[in-house]
Symmetry: C2
Subunit: 348 residues, 2 copies
DNA sequence: GTGAAAGCGCTAACAG
DNA sequence: CTGTTAGCGCTTTCAC
């Protein structure tokens, strides 16, 4: 009653459903009904309620709603790092899809190797309605927990033996196309700069490279495989190591663009030319790829789409709990020819 | 009682505080006490409770806690875009600070010009404990609302006349240093490629440029100011426009690195050299800045620190509601000399 | 079509 | 130190 007749838009006292009910002269159930649009309400009552809501500037508490309804309209999103440009697109895609459906996004950062199970917190404590996980190591128990609860989860950039739905890019196909392109340039001696071992995409790319080379009767000696860590500096170190080790490749494939950029630098520091002495290619097609000198030949990953798709999938699973989700979606990758592979500028 | 004696770690039925109380043979208040560590509890009781919690795999519901305690342990974070590398660092810093304090992060994307007031949703409906806003246009009413509620908000990269706390980088100082450096190269004819008008940092950089030039008796004709939109393509178009317009600058300052990259491209397309014919500098020092050819001279912004600091400030304000927050924190920027300004590679 | 009442799972006085 | 009792602000049967 203290609020009756007031028209403040910015009340000091939080406006609750009770205030609205009082103002509209109905019960709180009716307010809830027009809010959720489930049962039907007579047009006049609805109008009165809507008016009261507007006049009081009422905003339902998501907490109370969640507690009562057991649905939080919130998605949980766990990602290894927020500083890598590759992940930016994924985040953007997930955010977009969530926002479009009126869902909020709880973002948590958990490094690859961490066994923090931070997703568990989102799942158990924050009661998110669904989860999007990238770069998380899941135990069998984790997986079973999701399955038992029939809980919507989608993995990005990794799979767990078909036990959980996932969205990945065609790493194998992309790497294969890349290596074949290199081979078509006539190169015969190759080297690979690996990313961290934790990541399944690194493994896929490496496998694609070995197999593609083998299919062409080419070899990849152990001395021509170096370990980076997906950073520019790591790529530079790895390339230097490769050259000091006497690998002497004609073309090197770095598991991502940053490392490829570092490799180019290391090669130039040795007084050699890219691509004339050594060709370099990367993976991901992040922003910097077009700015390296020479511009980097690489494989584009549809990061935004991956995030968007994954989020759409969990959103769909939330809305239709009984439908089975597609178990794995593989998005196409695309070879982006620039000049670091030996292509001419014009040929693009 | 149904749970008594069970030792399941992954219960089908959600484990509530009641189950734990029953199991431990105490009341729920005691559970709450050991959970929150506020009142003291006898060591034995505590041990029993902890054991019960572990055995049942109990996880308190953040929803219920939030509803009862009026604190959600959640920060709201609104940012114009997630696809710009410049913002990546900010996001990472905010996430880190939040996670360190055990806070969850609700992320929302709202483009510069949008009057969506998406922060309002976080504030009113999700009941976040604090807000970090970047690139949001606030009305006077918005500001007063925060002040009336004594609500912790920190702005990043913008200020509202000292009415709300903010964290910004020293855009003016950075731009000034940059322009002075250009002048020290002996350049006399300048051009500016602006970012979007919405952003205050663009304005600051522009003002710094004008004033610094003026202080040196130099002029910046209107014909030598073009509008970009912070994208690579925008910078390229703006630079082309500048040249067609007959501006003929000796050095151009683009409001961010992406545009500078685009400008370099446009200049080369005209058959001119950077920096010999036209020097180009950018702002931000994002990843690609070191990969352009020539490498870009720019101003580093401490994006991660900005995000981290801002989050720390709201966290502090949440914990100590009575202290006054520092009204504005300005973080230093740093001139990064590479080669696009005309410096020699060695001089770094 | 609408209201009453019982929770949702916790915290926070207030008693002992 | 611990238990009892109200709520927190909604949704959801179940009546009417």
């Amino acid at each position: 009653m203290t609020l009756k007749g007031s028209r403040r838009v910015t009340p000091k006292q939080r406006v609750t459903i009770n205030a609205v009910a009082e103002r509209a002269g109905v019960s709180i159930s009716t307010i809830s009904r027009v809010l959720n649009g489930r049962d039907r309400v007579s047009p006049e009552t609805r109008a009165r309620v809507l008016a009261a809501i507007r006049e009081l500037g009422y905003r339902p508490s998501a907490l109370a709603r969640g507690l009562a309804s057991k649905r939080t309209q919130t998605l949980g999103f766990v990602i290894p790092t927020l500083t890598d440009p590759f992940f930016m697109g994924i985040v953007a895609g997930v955010e977009r899809a969530a926002a479009q459906s009126g869902y909020s996004l709880l973002v948590s950062c958990e490094p690859y190797a961490a066994k923090g199970r931070s997703y568990a917190r989102l799942f158990h404590e924050r009661r998110v309605d669904g989860l999007i996980l990238v770069g998380i190591r899941l135990t069998r128990a984790d997986i079973e927990e999701f399955q038992d609860h029939h809980f919507p989860v989608v993995l990005i950039q990794q799979t767990v033996g078909g036990l959980l739905p996932s969205v990945t890019a065609d790493n194998y196909g992309g790497a294969k196309a890349l290596v074949e392109h290199l081979i078509s340039h006539g190169y015969r001696r190759f080297a690979y700069i690996a990313g961290s071992d934790y990541t399944p995409d690194n493994a896929e790319r490496f496998r694609a490279m070995r197999e593609t080379l083998a299919a062409h009767g080419l070899d990849l000696p152990d001395s021509c495989v170096a370990s980076g860590d997906y950073t520019h500096e790591g790529g530079r170190r790895a390339m230097t190591e490769l050259m000091e080790r006497g690998c002497n490749p004609r073309a090197v494939f770095a598991a991502n663009d940053q490392m490829a950029g570092g490799a180019i630098l290391a090669i130039k520091e040795r007084g050699l030319q890219v691509p004339d002495d050594i060709a370099v290619v990367g993976f991901d097609d992040v922003a910097l790829a077009r700015f390296t000198s020479p511009p980097l030949t690489t494989v584009r990953q549809p990061t935004y789409e991956m995030g968007y798709q994954a989020a759409r999938m969990v959103l769909h699973a939330i809305e239709f709990p009984d439908e089975r989700m597609p178990l794995s979606v593989v998005l196409p990758t695309e070879l982006v020819r620039r000049e670091s592979c030996g292509c001419k500028p014009d040929s693009r």
